[in-house]
Symmetry: C2
């Protein structure tokens, strides 16, 4: 997987490190929501901010020099905890969990809150595009081959409400190195956004993209 | 603006509330990055998490019942602080500041860090789609009329590196209620993603979307 670095960490240790930071990440996600919605008074906003800075300093006492990147071990376990859509340690990610339903099919269930809002009460159109982009890329690659996004088209049928949502993607057809994927995002009343995309299998084996 | 609620708060007070939570939001954004990158030991991760939960409780002592939504006052000042791309109180937003360069033109400059990663070292393709979607919507509406997204197509020329980026959008043409917008995202070496979209002016005056 292009850009992924080999690191020979036993899978059990990878799993342990993944789980270690997951509760902290969930709390940061909760803090993002609380910061948007809080109406506490000015002094309390400033007091919480001051204490938060101290916590950030403690976390930064030892850190990676840059972004998390991606790694894999000799047992073919891969991890990319910083990924903006699925990263286990990224509080921006809902996170989305993609379920592969056999060859060429995948789905994901999400519950998007206040942090994903665009028009009042609705998911930001760009957020639906981001989620569809990721699901479709994983549908194309099927966790078996690298692919990168060529083109992606979204058709907005109506607003997507905040709350529980269902995404589905499937490979429509393949032509040479091109993989044609179609996908939808839906609420309880049906489809809100349709998408289709062309994903490319690199000829060289050097893929610019496998997971977003 | 559809979905926006009238609240007769003087503009000076709107500005004051907007600025009050901005430093806290910046710190939360910093915390998202620190959580991805920290390599402090297990006990410290758990200790920071515990203190963070206490801060969340303090913010939630008084809060909005749901998402932030959008509001406007009698002086035509509008605010939507929870917006996923531009919201001043949303730590998920970079935040992006859209600059309107006269009729039918807009641009934005961004610096995307570890939280926006997809493939190692590169911006998540879905994040570029999200930013373009927002810029193009604002280009179409020009802060003067409501529009909603009909279709949006992205063409990925190459990976977009994390770091400083420049977005540009312009209205290509209009046909009746349809506004055709083209846009690009570029790094120092040139364009990485091109996009075009069709935005619709609602006939009824009830717009499902003005800002995302």
């Amino acid at each position: 997987m292009s850009g992924f670095v080999h690191e020979d960490l036993p899978t059990a240790e990878v799993d342990r490190r993944e789980e270690l930071k997951r509760p902290l990440t969930d709390a940061v996600r909760d803090l993002v929501d609380a910061t948007i919605r809080t109406t506490v008074d000015d002094d309390e906003v400033r007091a919480v901010h001051e204490e938060l800075e101290a916590l950030i300093d403690r976390l930064r006492a030892s850190q990676l020099p840059g972004s998390a990147g991606g790694r894999y071990n000799s047992e073919r376990r891969a991890w990319h905890w910083g990924n903006a859509v699925i990263g286990a340690h990224n509080a921006i990610a809902p996170p989305m969990t993609v379920v592969h339903d056999g060859p060429g099919r995948a789905h994901a269930d999400l519950d998007l809150g206040a942090a994903y809002e665009g028009p009042p009460g609705l998911v930001h159109g760009g957020v639906t595009a981001m989620m569809l982009d990721h699901l479709m890329g994983e549908t194309a690659s099927g966790m078996q081959r690298p692919t990168f996004t060529g083109t992606l088209t979204m058709r907005y049928r109506r607003g997507t409400p905040l709350g529980p949502l269902h995404l589905e993607g499937r490979i429509d057809r393949e032509e040479g190195r091109k993989v044609f994927v179609v996908a939808t995002i839906a609420d309880a009343d049906g489809v809100t956004v349709e998408a289709d995309g062309v994903f490319i299998e690199p000829s060289s084996g050097h893929a610019p993209r496998v997971d977003g």
